[in-house]
């Protein structure tokens, strides 16, 4: 079912992205940054999607540690993978913007450094989950929980510490400061969220099918033992 639905959902999502790009193309560039500010229409939604992935990984990890249910672990892994994917997009698009806006690719300031460490935490989560061997689910869940607990500090780091990164107030202030930038930003965020849901469904389906294979192997081994 999912195999047939997946390409259709991806095609619908592609149409949404094309619509978002049309919006982005029509909106005027920002006055101080110029054209490079248009990277923000993909940079901000990618971090929103990453935080969503982290939230799913965190809830799944708590759920798994509390109940030991395999579907909780599968949800956590799916969330963790998507957090790494969208975090990578954020970590690459950010320096591309910074090269023009700040004159450097990277600054070791509070926001950028903690964001990189957060992303590496979820890379570690997936590494433990993949190569940790039997029983690594609990250790991975603890790593996922740690990453989830750290995430709010990364988000608020621009308000807590002195940093060159734009503050968290930029987005909530957008309707007042630049109302013409709201439709492209919302269209882009909506496209990213739909993509996130489609990829999450596909990854959960993959987890279910992998669990089916494991059960079939165990049943076969029991029968032949």
């Amino acid at each position: 079912m999912m195999r047939k639905l997946f390409p259709v959902l991806l095609a619908i999502n592609a149409v949404l992205f094309v619509a978002a790009l049309i919006f982005i193309n029509r909106v005027p560039p920002e006055s101080s940054m110029g054209l490079v500010q248009k990277i923000f229409y993909f940079h901000v939604p990618s971090w929103i999607a990453m935080y969503l992935g982290i939230a799913i990984c965190g809830v799944g990890s708590i759920w798994y540690l509390a109940t030991g249910r395999p579907q909780a672990d599968r949800a956590a892994v799916a969330g963790g993978e998507l957090a790494v994917l969208f975090g990578l997009v954020g970590l690459v698009t950010g320096p591309l913007w910074a090269r023009k806006a700040w004159g450097v690719w990277w600054q070791w300031d509070a926001r950028l450094t903690t964001a990189l460490l957060l992303w590496l935490t979820f890379v570690a989560y997936l590494t433990v989950r993949k190569y940790g061997g039997p029983g690594s689910e609990k250790l991975a869940a603890a790593v996922g929980l740690f990453g989830t607990a750290v995430a709010p500090f990364v988000y608020f780091s621009v308000n807590i510490w002195r940093t060159v990164h734009p503050l968290t107030t930029v987005m909530p202030e957008l309707p007042n400061s630049a109302p013409e930038m709201v439709p492209p930003m919302l269209a882009s965020i909506f496209s990213f969220l739909v993509l996130f849901v489609v990829l999450l469904m596909a990854r959960l389906e993959l987890g279910r099918r992998q669990a089916d294979v494991d059960e079939l192997y165990l049943a076969y081994e029991d029968r032949t033992a």
Partner: protein, 89 residues
């Protein structure tokens, strides 16, 4: 008189290239400018296009990995089902 004039002309002819070949004086100070001229500015379009293209490539790569893993799992399921049928009592 003519001799003096010739000496003067020859002096000009010989000395002028010496001054002309001198390098310009070194910069003694830096003076900030208020605005970078457009020819000196880093173009933004390649950065924007790279950012959008990277997103597209990353998502397509992830979709491809899911597709590949799903195909592998389904091949495993089919192989196990065939083995189970063959070895069924």
């Amino acid at each position: 008189m003519i001799k003096r004039l010739a000496t003067f002309v020859w002096t000009i002819v010989l000395v002028t290239p010496l001054f002309a070949l001198q390098p310009p004086p070194g910069q003694t100070e830096f003076r900030p400018m208020t605005e970078v001229p457009p020819s000196e500015q880093l173009p933004a379009a390649p950065l924007v296009i790279t950012a959008y293209a990277f997103f597209l490539v990353a998502v397509l790569f992830y979709v491809w990995t899911i597709w590949r893993r799903l195909n592998k799992v389904e091949a495993d399921i089919r192989a196990l089902e065939r083995t189970a049928k063959r070895t069924a009592p």
